[in-house]
């Protein structure tokens, strides 16, 4: 009954004939099995939390009535994720090294997975390395289109009509806040940070993050929230040191 799915291998075969993306993919395969020596070297940890002050607007309730397949997946109300705060702590903040790194950091072989489930993206915010595979999965029995309106990277808008479909994409340039949306379900929204290194993290429900394995040095660490913008601070870490830092955003 279902159309035969055309998987990533075939897309890659096609892609290989063209352009620099394919060169990236090859570089990735070559580097794939090497662990991130650079990441392991320093034994440092930069961790902390991100908080928010002021009046955080209550998240909007998402109406999924347009698609019964979505509504059925959620017995309870689903809230928008553009600002998620609990006890003054901010979730879904991307924290990363903005400046201070030298050298190059090959992309890990493990893909980042973004799952469409219950007509929501999981995760809502994620970091990914240049050249690292992004595996896009549809776990819903309904059509999703993945409309990625990147600025410096290639845009794409692809359909995943069938449950269980997977598509793999890569990004070839660093870019902050790459938006993903589904036009069929306009409430669906995800953001990605594409980095040339592996030193990034996303805050959890308690606003906490942890970036491990930076070489000793002085770095600019930035925290970015899709609605509240970015903040940065300078941090110096020595080998084996654990440094606690915090960020505080003001809600408008």
């Amino acid at each position: 009954m279902y159309p035969v799915l055309l998987f990533k291998e075939e897309m890659m075969k096609r892609g290989l004939k063209f352009g620099c993306l394919s060169v990236m993919v090859l570089a990735l395969v070559a580097a794939g099995n090497r662990p991130q020596e650079a990441a392991a070297a320093g034994g440092t940890v930069i961790s902390g939390s991100v908080s928010v002050t002021g009046n955080v607007p209550a998240p909007a309730k998402i109406k999924m009535a347009a698609d019964p397949a979505c509504a059925q997946a959620h017995p309870d109300a689903v809230m928008a994720q553009d600002i998620v705060a609990s006890g003054g702590k901010l979730r879904w903040v991307l924290v990363y090294v903005k400046e201070g790194l030298t050298g190059s950091f090959p992309a890990p072989a493990e893909p980042v997975v973004i799952n469409q489930t219950g007509c929501m993206y999981e995760p809502h915010v994620f970091g990914i390395q240049v050249g690292q595979k992004l595996e896009i999965v549809n776990s819903d029995s309904t059509l999703h289109n993945i409309n990625c309106q990147a600025n410096t990277n290639k845009k794409f808008n692809i359909a995943q009509p069938v449950k269980g479909m997977k598509t793999t994409k890569t990004f070839d340039q660093p870019e902050l806040g790459v938006p993903f949306k589904c036009n069929v379900h306009p409430w669906m929204s995800a953001r990605a940070g594409v980095f040339s290194h592996p030193f990034f993290a996303v805050t959890d429900a308690s606003g906490a993050f942890s970036i491990k394995g930076l070489p000793a040095g002085t770095y600019t660490i930035e925290a970015w929230q899709e609605k509240l913008g970015a903040q940065s601070q300078k941090v110096t870490v020595a080998d084996g040191e654990t440094k606690e830092i915090s960020f505080s955003f003001a809600a408008k």
Partner: protein, 403 residues
């Protein structure tokens, strides 16, 4: 690593070959662009030509390099041939004309010039494959219909293809402007061709800048020719005419000839043409000694009974010669021209109308015109598009003939 070297070698080689081609004559292309394209697309391709505000859809911002109609993968630029096709065939349903009047050489120079306007063409096009057309005899429409639902076409285009799917109302384009899914029953209004091959290509490549995604990574082209033929099969052949023939009521609707009238809007707000929903209306008419009854049907993606309600107006000019004085419906009669007699129906008074799956069918009754011919015109409002007053779809004046 060997493969990498090989690949690099191939890339360098193809690159060299591309450089070896004679440089396009951009000066000639630029001249032709200024003469033929800049008026809408703007002198630098920013989509801001002096006529641009008077159009909907708006002229493409060529400098941004997002092209709807390609044979290439989503997010990659079109081929030269794709641009040449759009330029040569135009885009029906928009104001983009075909440029057949220009010599082929000029059109090819234009293609090169358009490419020079955007950085998008630094990327290479990635042409897709479209399989083999099975032909109308072998196409399986039943399977195509199944695929229509399985692939989720109905989510936007609606069960019957009238552009009224549950997600239709919330769609926005890449620039966050509201956008409509195509009414697939109106083949004449498809921008880039309505043949099964055209449909298949749109399905595989997607329509960049719009919500229409590429299915190239979901299905193989061989699997969706049936769907392309099915979509073609739901197109309704329009019966354009400038005459509406009313027949005796005893003949009934089955024998009453149907006339299709094109509709368009011409209402401006802040210097910008406001888009309208209804692009065509079907008209039938029956009469007896006293009255004439019109059956009007048109596609509307949503049923709106609250203000602003969906509505239709029938206008009659008893003296058909007056239509020349009154001009088209777009020019409402002035003090010198008496207003035509009109009958307005609104969705609030739903007794004479019914809405089903994206279509309104409305009956409008009027006293029988005194003469055997009269001027006839219609106006349609889509409440779902906030249309009211002069923001509406108009037909031209046509001739009503009592047979």
């Amino acid at each position: 690593m060997k493969h990498t070297f090989l690949l690099t070698a191939v890339l360098v080689l193809t690159g060299t070959l591309a450089w070896a081609e004679p440089a396009p004559d951009l000066e000639a292309g630029k001249q032709a662009y200024m003469d033929n394209c800049a008026r809408c697309h703007g002198p630098a391709g920013a989509g801001d030509g002096r006529d641009s505000a008077r159009m909907f859809p708006r002229p493409r911002k060529l400098s941004e390099g997002v092209f709807k109609f390609r044979t290439t993968a989503s997010g990659t630029p079109p081929t030269d041939e794709d641009l040449f096709t759009t330029l040569s065939n135009g885009l029906p349903g928009s104001r983009m004309p075909d440029f057949q009047r220009l010599p082929e050489e000029t059109r090819r120079q234009l293609v090169q010039y358009v490419k020079s306007l955007s950085a998008a063409f630094k990327e290479q096009p990635v042409p897709l494959k479209f399989g083999t057309d099975p032909g109308p005899q072998k196409a399986n429409l039943g399977k195509g219909k199944q695929l229509y639902t399985q692939l989720g076409c109905n989510a936007c285009h609606g069960n019957l293809g009238r552009g009224n799917g549950p997600s239709a109302a919330t769609l926005v384009d890449q620039w966050n402007n509201p956008i409509r899914p195509a009414d697939l029953t109106q083949g004449w209004n498809y921008r880039s061709g309505s043949s099964p091959k055209d449909i298949l290509i749109r399905l595989m490549t997607g329509i960049d800048g719009t919500p229409m995604p590429s299915y190239a990574e979901a299905v193989k082209p061989e699997e969706v020719w049936d769907l392309a033929y099915y979509v073609q099969s739901i197109q309704v052949e329009p019966r354009w005419s400038n005459k509406v023939e009313a027949v005796k009521e005893t003949l009934g609707w089955e024998k009453a000839p149907r006339t299709d009238l094109r509709l368009s809007g011409n209402f401006y707000k802040d210097g910008q043409l406001l888009p309208v929903t209804a692009r065509a209306i079907s008209v039938q008419a029956l009469y007896n000694e006293k009255e004439i009854l019109f059956r009007l049907s048109w596609n509307d993606p949503s049923e709106n009974k609250q203000a602003p309600a969906d509505a239709v107006t029938v206008a009659l000019l008893q003296d058909p010669k007056m239509k020349w004085r009154a001009g088209s419906l777009r020019v409402w009669p002035s003090a010198n021209n008496p207003a035509p007699e009109i009958t307005r129906w609104s969705a609030e008074e739903a007794a004479s109308g019914s809405y089903q799956d994206g279509e309104w069918v409305v009956l409008v009754k009027r006293p029988l015109p005194a003469e055997k011919t009269a001027g006839f015109g219609v106006m349609v409002w889509d409440g779902g598009n906030s249309e009211q007053g002069r923001h509406r779809s108009n037909s031209n004046w046509v001739e009503l003939i009592l047979k």
